[in-house]
């Protein structure tokens, strides 16, 4: 009764070839970073383990932020096939809003010192701002996108239009200067690691990302709504044919996806500041992560974030110093390499 398909050996070989290439590239990179990286700003890892650990932590913490933002994007796409081009706008709007809320909580608009910021005047604005953009996301979906369900191009164009409008309105409201959300005083110091100083706030950011990731995972695996969403990603029509109200599930998913963009936006505003233009940057970041990981897959978002974060952190540190400028190319080399081996991304499936 077991009728698993028989795999032929030729197919096995053909399947392994691209993987072998990838392993070779990885092996070369590992050897380079460990032993050969003379003349780079970090130096070979065996000579300077401190710099290596710091770069690794940079990679992980940035990956955490990437994951929070990209998981929201991939969740919405996975279920509804909606490419939400306004995801970056929701990110930035949450950042600006959280900064404004924090300023009013602390009672100062400029020169806020970390000591002024209690943990609650960071988490409070985070939750409020994220909830606000989540509601905005639901409104956006109910008013503009619902009627065009299944028309992916139209939905993408609508969300582009929304992102342009939001960008202008944010410029009017918050001005063109970069603003920063201030980390709470409790995490604004440094720790000593292998002889290097490392910002606790970055580790805190990683912790927040882990909490968000675990919460998302529990929600998707342990709740009925989570099961329905995963089922809907696989086969939306069948979910509906089983009597499940897809409209409600879509609205909840849009809420959560936009909420994640908001949480990411507040983390990003604390980590690198909120400024006109970071909406586009973070839309692009989300796209790169989910294309690497596979559109619609949360596992893929984890893998994509880790890979992209690693490349972003390591390439400037381990390129010969005079070539550091070219490090950005490596993000796209990563994208090309992954797509050459897995055209639908690491965990993606054909639509």
């Amino acid at each position: 009764m077991v009728d698993t398909p028989v795999r032929t050996s030729t197919r096995d070989v053909a399947r392994r070839l691209p993987a072998l290439t990838v392993w070779l590239v990885l092996a070369f990179v590992a050897v380079w970073v460990l032993f050969l990286a003379e003349g780079t700003s970090a130096g070979p890892a065996v000579d300077d383990p401190g710099r290596f650990v710091v770069t690794l932590l940079d990679a992980l913490t940035f990956a955490g932020l990437l994951f929070v933002v990209a998981s929201g994007f991939t969740l919405i796409f996975g279920l509804m096939r909606t490419v939400n081009m306004a995801h970056g706008s929701l990110f930035l709007l949450a950042g600006f809003t959280a900064i404004a809320i924090q300023q009013s909580m602390v009672g100062k608009t400029t020169n806020i010192a970390p000591e002024d910021v209690s943990i609650w005047s960071w988490i409070g604005p985070l939750l409020l701002a994220a909830a606000l953009v989540a509601v905005l996301g639901v409104v956006m979906h109910q008013v503009f996108l619902r009627w065009n369900q299944g028309q992916e191009l139209r939905q993408a164009l609508i969300t582009i239009a929304i992102s342009v409008i939001l960008a202008d309105q944010m410029l009017r409201q918050f001005g063109g200067l970069a603003k920063t959300m201030v980390w709470p005083g409790a995490v604004s110091h440094f720790v000593e690691l292998f002889g290097e100083r490392y910002a606790t706030s970055r580790l805190f950011m990683l912790a927040v990302a882990l909490v968000v990731g675990v919460a998302l995972w529990l929600w998707l695996t342990r709740t009925r709504m989570g099961m329905v969403i995963r089922a809907g990603v696989d086969d939306e029509g069948m979910v509906r044919a089983l009597g499940i109200n897809a409209t409600l599930v879509f609205a909840v998913t849009f809420f959560v996806g936009a909420f994640l963009a908001g949480v990411g936006g507040v983390m990003g505003a604390s980590f690198a500041g909120a400024a006109t233009g970071s909406d586009g940057t973070w839309l692009l970041n989300s796209l790169v992560v989910v294309i690497i990981g596979g559109l619609g897959s949360i596992k893929g978002a984890v893998a994509g974030s880790l890979l992209y974060g690693t490349v972003v952190a390591f390439s400037p540190a381990y390129l010969p110093s005079q070539y550091t400028f070219y490090s950005v190319i490596f993000s796209f080399a990563l994208l090309a390499l992954v797509l050459a081996v897995r055209p639908y991304g690491l965990f993606g499936r054909p639509a």
Binding site: R224, D235, G243, I244
Partner: protein, 253 residues
């Protein structure tokens, strides 16, 4: 005769400009009814149209006397049609348990709960934590049936349940169909295999080019190779070898 459970009148539908269903009419009560026909005759389109997955162009569908044509699939399902689609359409990301848990809400106290499904298909109970698509073909079909049963609908709609299954598994499904009907649930089963179709339902509707061409019975169909050839064509002539009359294998083309 009292009001039929399901009544279909002049149902038409299709994709874009092409019309696949061309005026389907039939009605059924609490019984097992088979719809049999060759590939490409519109059998799956009929199922999808009844479920609201393919839009209805014209015609009426009444379930318990209520119009359901043109309704959203979730509304049709909640009115009482439990769908077991062609190819099972299980969820690759969900385990067996999750397939059932997802639909368990509101089943308490009704005939079909996840526990009752596991009782019906003990093999599924052994594979609770396996992924939906890691199961064997037979187990997948059991899960697809079990999942549909959790809706506790008044009509179970099955599209090619025997496809790709070993005869022993088909027998299990045949048994389930008979049990459902005995318990008062109607079953509409769409098939292109004679053996499975005739074992599941005595009343058979023959579908040709988007219409119900004829109504016959399983025994009539089994006894008459000419009828089989006319309505079911080559596919069945090959398969007819395993039916008791040993019908001829001559080709029709």
């Amino acid at each position: 005769m009292s009001e039929p459970l399901l009544e279909v009148r002049g149902l038409c539908s299709g994709y874009g400009d092409s019309r696949v269903l061309d005026g389907i009419s039939f009605s059924m009560g609490v019984e097992a009814v088979g719809i049999i026909g060759r590939n490409g005759m519109g059998k799956t389109t009929l199922c999808d149209t009844l479920m609201g997955l393919v839009p209805t162009t014209s015609g009426e569908v009444l379930l318990h006397g209520e119009h359901i044509e043109g309704r959203a699939p979730e509304k049709v399902a909640r009115r009482g049609i439990s769908y077991v689609p062609q190819g099972r359409r299980l969820f690759a990301s969900l385990t067996v348990d999750e397939h059932l848990a997802m639909l368990a809400k509101g089943t308490r106290g009704k005939r079909w709960t996840p526990e009752a499904v596991y009782e019906l298909f003990p093999r599924l109970a052994q594979r609770r934590s396996s992924g939906g698509t890691d199961l064997s073909g037979g187990e997948q079909q059991m899960l697809a049936v079990g999942r549909a049963l959790l809706l506790n609908g008044s009509l179970v709609l099955m599209d090619e349940p025997s496809e790709g299954l070993a005869p022993t598994i088909v027998d299990v499904l045949v048994d389930v169909v008979h049990r459902l009907v005995a318990e008062g649930t109607a079953v509409l089963v769409v098939e292109q295999k004679l053996r499975a179709a005739t074992a599941m339902a005595e009343r058979q509707l023959v579908m040709v080019s988007g219409r119900i061409q004829a109504e016959t019975t399983a025994s009539e169909l089994q006894a008459d190779p000419e009828l089989q050839r006319r309505y079911l064509g080559v596919g069945t002539a090959v398969e007819a070898g395993d039916h008791p009359n040993g019908a001829s294998r001559e080709r029709t083309e």
